[in-house]
């Protein structure tokens, strides 16, 4: 899947990032193409959400670069970064809706902040976005009254209300019932294609992500260990990819967290 440099929307090169002593990324390279649904996959704790925050400029890398539309995100001024973020949407794992505002006001929030629109126009725009996620009838509900799946759909409507060029999805399928999951899977693909977006999904839900992703990057031990279409990865001979895609409990990623031997722990000196 080689594309021209014009096709590349996000270009991550040699990215290194640590939290204290713990190395999260040790030279990550990946390219996200325009118009595609790209997935970053890996087990919990591999830094998938951290990677989204690095792309969005909320965290700074120790080394390496993140270019979006050819511009280094971490070399931008505060003003430039915020101008870029107006063209990026992000769906947080929790939805991150404002709990003191109704569904309508949550979706209207970016418009009220960035666009000086007459109230009737704003209302129509918000209702159209809510209609797209099937929640126009829930406009007056408060976030506390929504189910997890509904909250994520409202967050999705809010993420697309400024018509961004790209949406970052942080674990969109985690903790969803099958119906909500199916709805989100189809919405993400539909939004990407009808609104001409580029989508980046971080997830560990193999089946759902494989249904809609054009390209998958698999993270392990701070690096991208494999990338390709879901079909290509399903055929991969890598033991790591096989373990992840087939949900095997043991393999290159051990079942046990590193620890002294059980005998030493049970029979050794007591603290």
């Amino acid at each position: 899947m080689n594309g021209t440099s014009g096709d590349i929307l996000v270009d991550v090169r040699g990215l290194c990032f640590s939290r204290g002593e713990r190395v999260i990324f040790d030279g990550v390279d990946l390219q996200i193409r325009r118009g595609q649904v790209s997935a970053i996959m890996g087990p919990s704790g591999t830094g998938k959400t951290t990677l989204l925050r690095l792309i969005g400029g909320q965290l700074r890398p120790d080394a390496g670069t993140v270019h979006v539309e050819g511009r280094d995100v971490h070399a931008m001024s505060h003003r430039e970064l915020y101008a870029l973020r107006r063209r990026m949407g992000m769906l947080f794992q929790s939805g991150a809706l404002f709990t003191h505002q109704s569904v309508f006001e949550n979706v209207a929030f970016p418009l009220r902040e960035h666009a000086d629109l007459p109230e009737p126009v704003l209302r129509d725009l918000v209702l159209m976005k809510l209609e797209a996620v099937g929640l126009r009838g829930a406009r007056d509900m408060m976030p506390g009254e929504l189910s997890g799946g509904m909250a994520r759909r409202v967050a999705l409507a809010r993420a697309v209300v400024l018509d961004p060029m790209m949406i970052l999805y942080d674990e969109p399928f985690a903790g969803q019932d099958p119906i909500s999951m199916g709805t989100l899977v189809s919405l993400i693909r539909l939004m990407n294609d009808t609104l001409s977006l580029s989508s980046v999904i971080v997830s560990h839900d193999v089946v759902e992500t494989s249904q809609i992703a054009d390209e998958v990057f698999v993270l392990s031990e701070g690096r991208v260990v494999e990338s390709g279409s879901p079909a290509e990865l399903a055929q991969s001979e890598s033991a790591w990819v096989q373990q992840f895609f087939n949900a095997l409990p043991d393999g290159p990623v051990p079942f046990h967290y590193p620890a002294p031997s059980l005998g030493d722990d049970l029979l050794g000196p007591r603290p």
């Binding site: 969005g56 909320q58 973020r85 992000m90 929030f109 970016p110 902040e113």
Partner: protein, 258 residues
């Protein structure tokens, strides 16, 4: 022994680190203030949440503090035959000290803790992060209006506290203790100086309002994003606000009246 020194050193360095981060945070919040001129509604909302919703506790406390002050003051003054000066004692105590200080302590417990918990929970539930990703700066949208509202609300609350304290004292003095109504007001009018007493009290309130609001919003913003972290931050707000207000009160009193 070495462990003790190491722990002490670590705590000292941590404290200075927090102070430095808090100062940088304050500068960023102050930089967001000019934008509020274009959106006064944001400050109004916070004035309601911080000021209006604190009115009940301030009014009740002020009235009772004034009434107790009258009872205690009368017992002392009557032994010198100076009970007609009760109005002066109550007014000076409230305007110079009790009004600003007790209001600030109540503010820290009621509005300050609420601010910290609100901002801390916004951080825990990623609302602040989502705001950043929507290209909305939380320092301008969330922190600056709350900081300004706290600064503006405190002198108003302290004025209401002192006013109701004086009225409470007046009721107790004239109705229960037999102090002459005319003497109560005329002696107060003669002894209380607007600049020396009233304005110095207002200055104290402004300083306390600024410091208490700064502590509350910073603790919320700096909270560890867990339920325990928010709980600790809320506790720290009340403790730090109380200590800062009492310490600053001594310094300001020494400068103003020393």
């Amino acid at each position: 022994m070495m462990g003790l020194f190491a722990g002490l050193g670590r705590r000292t360095i941590d404290s200075f680190g927090r102070l430095g981060r808090g100062t940088m945070f304050l500068l960023r919040a102050l930089a967001g203030m000019p934008g509020l001129l274009l959106r006064p509604g944001l400050v109004m909302q916070q004035l309601y949440a911080i000021g209006v919703l604190s009115l009940l506790i301030i009014m009740v406390s002020g009235t009772f503090v004034g009434m107790v002050l009258a009872l205690q003051g009368y017992n002392t003054l009557v032994t010198f035959g100076a009970e007609q000066s009760l109005g002066v004692l109550v007014a000076l105590s409230l305007l110079r000290e009790l009004g600003p200080v007790v209001t600030a302590l109540l503010f820290g417990g009621r509005a300050g803790s609420a601010l910290t918990a609100e901002i801390g929970l916004m951080k825990t539930t990623e609302q602040l992060s989502s705001m950043e990703m929507m290209a909305v700066d939380p320092m301008r949208r969330i922190i600056a209006p709350r900081l300004l509202a706290g600064f503006l609300a405190m002198p108003l609350l302290a004025a209401i506290f002192s006013f109701l304290g004086i009225m409470g004292a007046h009721v107790v003095s004239t109705a229960a203790l037999g102090v002459d109504d005319g003497a109560f007001w005329s002696q107060m009018q003669a002894a209380v100086d607007f600049r020396e007493d009233v304005m110095n009290g207002v200055i104290k309130s402004l300083v306390f309002g600024f410091v208490a609001s700064w502590i509350a919003v910073y603790e919320g913003y700096d909270a560890v994003p867990t339920s325990e972290g928010v709980s600790r931050a809320t506790t720290r707000t009340v403790v730090h606000t109380s200590l800062a207000v009492l310490g600053l009160d001594f310094v300001l009193t020494a400068v103003m009246f020393g």
